[in-house]
Symmetry: C2
Subunit: 501 residues, 2 copies
């Protein structure tokens, strides 16, 4: 696609009336150089002679003369009724000399979408935990994907358009770093009601997701040299976020009741905080028991430490009743609570939240502002309406019914096609099932084979900080139809049957 002309090519034309060089020659030289340097590209439109003369504050004659020369030499070409463009076919093999050409060869990143207009990322790399987010693909059994096909698109687009049309200058300016008042109030009410979180609107900070929330927690709670307890196994990106301020990570084993509190105590007094996923431990799926929760709160109060509660995947629970948040059991203000709308609405929304104890509120608002000032206002407005008008509660109820079906399809398919080589460890909640592989089967190998067959998964072994690692697959079911899940389990069964043990 051709872009419209930018009159802003002035940096390429440092015209100097006292240089002793004719103006038309300076304009010719500047444009030719910009084209040869690859700063103006074949097919790109250049300003009309009239506009350029105005911008340069010169008469039109030297501009016309320069353009005529460039057209004559083939650097520019005119198209009737469309304007003047840098030639698609440049003279004297000029493009070979473009120094920028060498740049593209040094790319070592997975982000090689280059300059196409496609937004689809490459899907060919196998899916390990931290890389999985980069993969724009929607292949089974990608984790953390909600049922995007069942999202109420029309309703959401209506709310977005409603506010998009009517943004006031104030709403377009700098927003409150803590978030839009209406959204904070709506989130507080939702969390009190659905999660038994004890909070007021002013305890809530709107951020761009749980990754940002964890980074802000690290900035406020952890100094360089402090230790922070993390779950082992745990969420690799959480470890990256918590270590960002120079804190040292202290992995604490997780058993069937949650984090091992005795091991936590044994770490001593340098541990300033513990980060836990009480509703649905990442990746094992267990829910921290009430006894363990109380012991964790006692540890924090006793040590003067903080608990960072990532209430990830708390919205959907299929087995036994949901427990309220750990935060709601805490009477001593030691818990910082965080969550995100990525998995209950859609990831590209980029809205999450923190609930912080009153004594930390000021520090958190300052750290949130220093992080990236504030969150985009349009989606905050639309989301506040979505919550207040009751659409969110309805959406959760509807999604839960859909996920019950998809989860059943996955468990059924695994039992039918993968039995003996794969065992389900936990499927109680959330959008993924945790499985273990039979002795001798390496999860990385299986995932590589899955990649060749159009599937993906997250390796359980990639979630460990230490060297004692279990081999298993984390299989997301949220984003795929029951039929697609059924077919995918059959393929997975074939891969497992062929796996060397």
């Amino acid at each position: 696609m051709k872009t419209a002309a930018s009159p802003h090519i002035l940096p390429h034309l440092p015209i100097d009336r006292n240089a002793g060089v004719p103006l038309h020659r300076q304009i010719y030289d500047g444009l030719r150089r910009a084209i040869l340097d690859g700063l103006l590209r074949p097919g790109q439109r250049v300003p009309s002679t009239r506009v350029l003369a105005v911008e340069l504050e010169v008469s039109r004659l030297p501009v016309l003369t320069a353009y005529e020369q460039l057209l004559h030499e083939g650097y520019l070409q005119g198209r009737v009724g469309a304007g003047t463009f840098v030639s698609e076919a440049l003279p004297d093999d000029a493009l070979r000399s473009i120094p920028l050409a060498s740049r593209t060869t040094s790319s070592t990143t997975s982000s090689t979408t280059s300059s196409t207009t496609s937004s689809t990322a490459s899907n060919t790399t196998p899916n390990s935990a931290p890389r999985s987010r980069r993969d724009g693909g929607l292949r089974p059994f990608r984790m953390s994907l909600p049922a995007l096909d069942e999202f109420p698109h029309t309703l959401w687009a209506r709310l977005v358009a409603r506010h998009g049309r009517a943004l006031t200058p104030r709403q377009m300016g700098y927003g409150d770093p803590a978030g839009l008042g209406a959204l904070r109030a709506a989130i507080a009410e939702h969390l009190r009601t659905a999660r038994a979180v004890r909070c007021e609107a002013e305890d809530v900070l709107v951020v761009s997701g749980s990754q940002a929330a964890l980074r802000i927690c690290a900035a406020v709670l952890l100094a360089a040299g402090d230790r922070v307890a993390v779950e082992e196994p745990g969420y690799p990106l959480a470890r990256a976020a918590l270590g960002a301020s120079g804190a040292e990570l202290a992995p604490v084993p997780v058993d069937d009741e949650g984090m091992d509190i005795a091991a936590l105590h044994a770490l001593g007094h340098r541990v300033r905080a513990a980060c836990v996923t009480p509703s649905h431990q990442y990746p094992l799926g267990v829910s921290i028991t009430a006894a363990r929760r109380l012991a964790l709160l006692d540890w924090a109060a006793h040590r003067g430490a903080w608990i960072i509660e990532d209430d990830y995947d708390s919205e959907y629970r299929y087995v036994s009743r949901p427990l309220g948040a750990l935060q709601g059991m805490d009477s001593r203000g030691r818990v910082v609570y965080l969550g995100t709308f990525s998995k209950v609405l859609f990831p590209a929304l980029r809205v999450g939240y923190l609930v912080v104890p009153p004594m930390l509120r000021r520090k958190f608002v300052e750290a949130r502002e220093a992080f990236d000032l504030f969150s985009p206002t349009l989606y905050q407005l639309a989301l506040a309406d979505f919550l207040r008008e009751g659409h969110f509660a309805r959406h959760l109820r509807r999604m839960r019914a859909i996920y019950i079906g998809r989860r059943a399809a996955l468990l059924d398919g695994l039992a039918r096609h993968c039995g003996g080589r794969l065992s389900v460890h936990n499927a109680d909640a959330g959008l993924h099932v945790t499985t273990f592989l039979a002795a001798g089967i390496r999860d990385g190998d299986v995932i590589e084979r899955m990649g060749e067959r159009g599937l993906t998964a997250t390796a359980l072994s990639s979630c460990y900080a230490g060297s004692a690692r279990r081999s298993g697959l984390l299989l997301g079911f949220g984003g795929f139809s029951e039929r697609r899940i059924g077919r995918a389990t059959r393929v997975l069964g074939e891969i497992l049957a062929a796996a060397k043990t």
Copy 2:
């Protein structure tokens, strides 16, 4: 406004069939406790007995019995055709016992918008540099505000709605951490053309603004204990961002040509990076001269250090021709370039960008992902169209004409009303004018008086890290009509005339 019912009140109802307590009593106790604890609030809707019975997997009878009792005692109230709600007037002074009430008294932050549905922040605090962003107000002479009244609202809303209606599941899922391919390509073309930046689409990373960009630079380029050179005076929030990874800030004086390179050299080899604002030094307004630019590039190459070029306010230049970016003069890959659309489009957009040398690309993409995964997709799609379809170039041209008028109104008003007590230091570019106050007049005092008269400004003295500070006012003119600016300068003149020297 009343919210719709959430069926997700289950955490408050830990029903136990083996507890020896009748089910209706357990339901009554759970709801009453949630109301008394303030987790369910007066006026809030509760689920219907039918829905709650389904959610609890009990028969409807115990739920009906519990509701009847709560209605009878006044905890709940029914409204014909509307459902059942927590009573607005609760019995036996229950609300006095809500333990959460004490929380609101400990607020020490400026974010006290509380639980109202209004998005307007408090405007009563005087405006010092880091706090200025928190002030949602649009009072003259607030800095960094573009002409939001002249923004092409209808066109922008159309682009947003176009994509909002048509988001595909892929676009709703996890995006590329480096940004949408189409937007990166459009930004690269704009920067090559308008700023002579040497870049390809894959060198561009989309982030949420310059604050995020600076944080990501700090994460990649600076380790704890490293030193980073910053401009003195400089941008306070940049210092906060660059120090976030534990680096030590080394302020380097700025004179009329830019950063003092001899002073930079004198800092020695521990300096890993220098952060500069070459187009429009914040806050003094000077443009770094070509000689100083070359010396800076030599310093970086010689030391193996990095230059962080914040190309802030480069888009509008009123005096002399624009220089291209420092990045475009660098042949050794030592410059990380950053910019934002906050001031050329609108702040609540939250889109900025980094252009990174190829050898750092992989590290930057990883750091950007660890920061907050990726930027919201909808605005990336709309912005890519805005750039590619030529609206952006037209917008810049139109805005420039408007700012020429507003700048003239400010300079004219200052000359007429404030002469003698205030002198203009720089008005060459960007959206603010830098002024010095006459000896003995403290900028903080003037700004306090301005606050009483509905005006604001940023104190020049707040931009210094050291104790040698000049007193002056940074006066933004972008966001206010010529008439409003004229009136505001008259008021400022009255304040200055009354100021103690």
